[in-house]
Subunit: 310 residues, 2 copies
């Protein structure tokens, strides 16, 4: 009944006798509770987050549902181990396209050990984290039943520069990747996935508004997952979804916003926005026009600032 | 005719025979052009910025006016030296209160030398830059003709933690600092300076909107200056102003937003917002109410997300 998940794109995998997550067929995702402080931190985060009545309902939807912990047989055959019982984000989807975006230019937190800080800093500098405020940790893009998925190797994904990231975000919503690297990605699903009414861009902007005010949590080394269903994208039911995962390094915000995550999130938004702006279908879309009028391009118009006393 | 400026709160000062900026009585500020790449970078930035037709007019107002370069007698007596000719931000103000906020959690840029990066990183970690996304570099708060200015020493300002920063931002708009450290700062000018119709908060939010889309410049080690006139604050003419200064480390954005500066700017906004939210006068202010309805607290209300196709 428990099996290694099909659509995981980053993190430890539980195949080949290694310790990793498992899923069942009722939509639950079992993540091994790391035995060190990372396991404690992640469990404490889920318990705090779901008992915090200040978190608005539409923000909770960006986090996996949490069903406590359960001791089950680990994927590496090491016997019964405690697991976090979470929502399987791709349950019920046939061939989801998934991208994992580790968000924030800095994956280390000030209180960490010097050794940990130096290790993270090196990874941040050697990836796009420092330059772009995020890095792609993995992706998997469904093409068709014959070609299957485009899922570049980890070392390819880790070596993306800014242009590589731009290209990956466009390929993520393209239908012609199987024609080879010399064919321009067609961006066929951009309007249905990114700028769609309930699409990725609208969801990221919601999340951004929360990050502008929330001071409870600082999300170090946390990932934004973006996913959708390609097979049904063309008839408008792509079900694009944004979720946050991996809370093993969430720290108390101590009354300060998570400027590190927020900056990276704004950068992700701008990259997607650039794809949307170049897309003919998106240009016609009322949501895209609405975004332009309602906030995103306000800075290009003269605002109403009145220097009289209020 | 040229003299050392009275109201400088951070940076190199030109008194005591040292090289520093000078001002004249026509509202111009003469900044010595640093002879290394910093001088070249700052001059190149001003020339690029003021010839860039994409910069909206209301954004240019956040930058000092630029009048080219001029060779004048340097303040350290070393003879004629090239200076940037800029706007004197406090010209015409009698006793301006001024704060210098170095914005961004990271003052180093990826292309810098290893030595420079390590030096900056240490300063960033030893100040509030890493934790808050900004650090106060200097401040000067006018009290009255008898008490003069409250201007804590550099070493005091540099040692601020989060609470010190919170306190300084409240003291910046208080009238009773001369009563000593045991008296709570009264925040008397908060409504006139911070949440006023053309006030600091509204200006910072304008600047933020631009930073969400601009990809031309990355502003490393750059300062937000906030200033106002205390003496006339109570009759509603505090003339609060936000300006950006110090562009010796501005880099080409290469099509990516300045997520580092933007994150820090959002953090500054939240700190000021917290002061405004606790203030009785601000609570009555229509601007504050408008900000709550129009973006800043939108995340606490259920947004209109529609999962139908567009």
């Amino acid at each position: 009944m428990l099996k290694v998940p099909d659509h995981q794109v980053a993190g430890h995998r539980g195949d080949g006798g290694k310790l990793g997550p498992l899923v069942d067929d009722s939509g639950r995702f079992y993540k091994p509770l790391q035995s060190d402080h990372r396991g404690d931190t992640e469990l404490a985060f889920y318990e705090s987050f779901y008992s915090n009545t200040e978190i608005p309902g539409h923000i909770r939807k960006f986090f996996p549902a949490f069903h406590g912990t359960k001791t089950i047989e680990a994927s590496d055959g090491s016997g019964p181990q405690p697991h976090l019982v979470l929502e399987d984000l791709v349950a019920g989807r046939t061939n989801p396209s998934v991208m994992d975006i580790k968000t924030g230019s800095r994956t280390w937190y000030p209180e960490a050990s010097e050794e940990y800080i130096q290790k993270c800093l090196e990874k941040d500098r050697n990836s796009t984290s420092v330059s772009l405020g995020f890095r792609i940790s993995g992706l998997r893009v469904y093409q068709n039943s014959e070609a299957g998925f485009w899922q570049p190797e980890k070392k390819v994904v880790y070596s993306f520069n800014a242009d590589g990231v731009r290209s990956a975000l466009r390929k993520f919503v393209s239908s012609n990747l199987s024609l080879g690297p010399n064919v321009d990605p067609d961006g066929l699903y951009a309007s249905k996935v990114y700028c769609h009414r309930g699409g990725i861009l609208a969801q990221l902007l919601q999340l951004k508004e929360w990050f502008e005010v929330q001071t409870n949590y600082h999300f170090y080394s946390c990932s934004l997952i973006i996913l959708y269903d390609r097979e049904s994208a063309l008839d408008g039911r792509a079900h694009p979804k944004v979720k946050l995962v991996d809370f093993a390094h969430v720290m108390d915000g101590h009354g300060v916003i998570d400027h590190n995550f927020l900056g990276g999130l704004c950068s992700v938004i701008k990259f997607i926005r650039d794809i949307v702006d170049e897309d003919n279908e998106c240009a016609k879309c009322e949501v895209n026009l609405g975004l332009k009028e309602n906030g995103f391009y306000k800075s290009s118009t003269e605002p109403e600032l009145d220097h009289e006393a209020c």
